[in-house]
Amino acid sequence: MAEPLHDITVDREIDRSRMRIGSEVAIQIAAMNKWFGTFHVLRDINMTVHRGERIVICGPSGSGKSTLIRCINRLEEHQSGRIVVDGTELTSDLKNIDKVRSEVGMVFQHFNLFPHLTILENCTLAPIWVRKVPRKEAEETAMHFLRKVKIPEQALKYPGQLSGGQQQRVAIARSLCMKPKIMLFDEPTSALDPEMIKEVLDTMIALAEEGMTMLVVTHEMGFARQVANRVIFMDQGQIVEQNEPEPFFSNPQSERTKLFLSQILRGH
């Protein structure tokens, strides 16, 4: 397999008028630790995300990026420290977990669409069963977001009939149908071919332009430069370095960051 460039940029002017970072805290993680058995996968994570922030998380494979963002909607359970999402602390209380999950959307590397349901049904399922929205209204909302991700004409097809890029855009629309306040992306483009990467990044940029709070695990450095207001570098379960994109790329502080960037941006 050819080494991906990880530097696909979208050639259009980005509208920054609504990308405003508020003072309100969306996610607060304090002294958080997590183990898988005896393996200490996340070490003393401290992190504050304000409303409207667009954060890119990068780092070598196995450094704990996925685990970190999966802790934010409790797909993984942390063992010490605190995680507060939108004012709700994540504990073993199921009510809190449900509340957080219905306000945080998540997009996965392998899309995880429901193959037995049509695109439209994929998008209306959670609003109807979790939010108790009437079917008709849920369908209208779903069509609205499918138009946003530019595939309204596929609404009645099944996921298996769509290309990877289209499936990932449906997955984004499916999350948006729950009207989340925060969106998590776990390597949303890693399973895609270059031309499809572009259409998915385009969709994510459009989302950022609307002021969505986003945490994106990705190696697409072009996206980080264009959209992120902060880049976090993780290695061996720790946050090693974080900075605004420009200084992060041009002037990395730690040796580990330098090594990682030189590997990921090889070919420049």
Partner: protein, 427 residues
């Protein structure tokens, strides 16, 4: 400019392909004689089929339909080879209905016809959904048609479900945690303590009923279908619950389910049936009248459910973890994720195994002959016990086999149709 000598004004139709490339000739070449080994196998199988037809054909063609006994059949055949199908003609009502009173044959027949009506909305999406209400009351209706007696009994028994739902709805605002539990326990208490007195009261006030028929009159295919259909209908939901329980994180639930499945699977069905017929009487308080057919249905259901659970567990294991995670991240709780995302996919994968279990269960109903119930096999023995038909085997077994084949083949075809209909993954 060159002079044009010929311009075609009408297009010719394409030429026929050579004989070796069309129709029957091509089909035969590709499917029967595509290599020397296939050629040999084709010839050998054809020879076998011809041999079989030559032996069985005359036996069938020569069959005697009109005779009152095997001896009469032999007389008519006068030493030639032939089937004595007269026994089917003489005894088919018994093979179908056992010792059910003959003037009441319309009742099991109607129950069977209504069964298809009740199944239709579950089997075919084109049927209006409102018919599901009929499916819901069908068990009570079928019970009443088959066993007769007062109409109030099935009505009051079905009302147990309404009682459960009412208790659940009434308690939910006050005690949300206890409500589901109370909703499950209330019907059980209703069935144990309320059904008999309430039925008696209503029957005294307003007697509506038809001639009762006792369980020991049931037999033949009526009995097979009653046990088979009830077992099938109950073992699927029970199997699903057991499979989910086996995958559960709750230690106690998991242990109980694993223990149950392993125990039932490790014991032959016939042992369970003997338990049902003999041992249960020792455990039950003296004087309780616990219907033998009901006992058998329970045992057959438990047996099939254990197998069903394992089949469904296989389907559950095939669902990628990403599906659970997507459901979780959208905020669906456990039961909703199971019902809407996981089970529809897992059951679809498991269809061949599920139908396999159904067919096995239906054929296993013939084992009840060992505890003295008169299923079709048992009846064939009973028919032979009559001096007229003493010594007749093949004809009866062929008829019974053919009947079972029709039902099982029907299930198998439906399952293939269902698999095609539900195929949405486009892999």
């Amino acid at each position: 400019m060159a002079e044009i000598r010929f311009v075609r004004t009408a297009m010719l139709p394409p030429q026929e392909p050579p004989v070796s490339q069309i129709g029957a000739v091509r089909w035969v070449r590709e499917n029967l004689f595509s290599g020397w080994l296939n050629g040999v196998l084709t010839v050998a199988s054809a020879a076998f089929v011809v041999w079989l037809a030559l032996h069985v054909g005359p036996w069938f063609m020569n069959a005697v339909w009109n005779a009152g006994s095997l001896a009469e059949c032999r007389e008519i055949l006068a030493g030639t080879d032939g089937a004595c199908l007269a026994v089917i003609r003489d005894r088919w009502p018994q093979l179908l209905f056992g010792f059910y009173p003959s003037e009441l044959y319309w009742r099991p027949t109607l129950a069977l016809l209504l069964l298809f009506v009740a199944l239709a909305p579950a089997l075919f999406p084109a049927v209006p959904r409102q018919l599901l209400w009929f499916s819901a009351i069908y068990p009570g209706l079928a019970y009443w048609l088959l066993w007769g007696g007062t109409l109030w009994f099935p009505v009051v028994a079905l009302a147990g479900f309404a009682v459960g739902i009412a208790v659940f709805i009434a308690l939910r605002p006050v005690l949300p945690l206890v409500a589901p539990f109370a909703g499950l326990v209330a019907p059980v208490f209703w069935w144990l303590f309320a059904v008999v007195p309430v039925t008696g009261l209503l029957a005294a006030v307003l007697p509506v009923g038809i001639t009762p028929v006792r369980s020991d009159s049931f037999g033949g295919f009526t009995l097979s279908i009653i046990i088979g259909v009830t077992g099938i209908a109950l073992s699927l939901p029970l199997g699903i619950l057991l499979a989910l329980g086996r995958k559960s994180d709750l230690f106690l639930v998991k242990t109980i389910c694993v223990g149950f499945i392993e125990f039932i699977r490790g014991v032959p069905l016939i042992t369970l049936l003997f338990t049902a017929s003999l041992l249960l009487n020792y455990f039950l308080p003296p004087g309780t009248n616990f219907d033998i057919i009901l006992r058998v249905v329970i045992m057959v259901t438990l047996f099939a459910a254990a197998y069903m659970a394992e089949v469904i567990r296989g389907g559950l294991a095939a669902i990628p973890r990403g599906q659970y995670e997507a459901a979780d991240s959208l905020g669906l709780d456990y039961w909703k994720a199971m019902r809407l995302i996981v089970l529809p996919q897992a059951l679809k994968i498991s269809i061949p195994g599920i139908v396999n279990t159904f067919i096995g269960l239906f054929k296993d109903t013939t084992l009840v002959v060992f505890i003295g119930l008169l299923d079709p096999i048992g009846l064939s023995t009973a028919i032979r016990a009559n001096t007229n038909w003493n010594g007749i085997y093949w004809e009866l077994f062929l008829f019974i086999g053919a009947m079972f084949f029709v039902f099982c083949f029907g299930m198998s075809r439906y399952s293939m149709h269902l698999e095609r209909r539900l195929k949405t993954d486009h892999r």
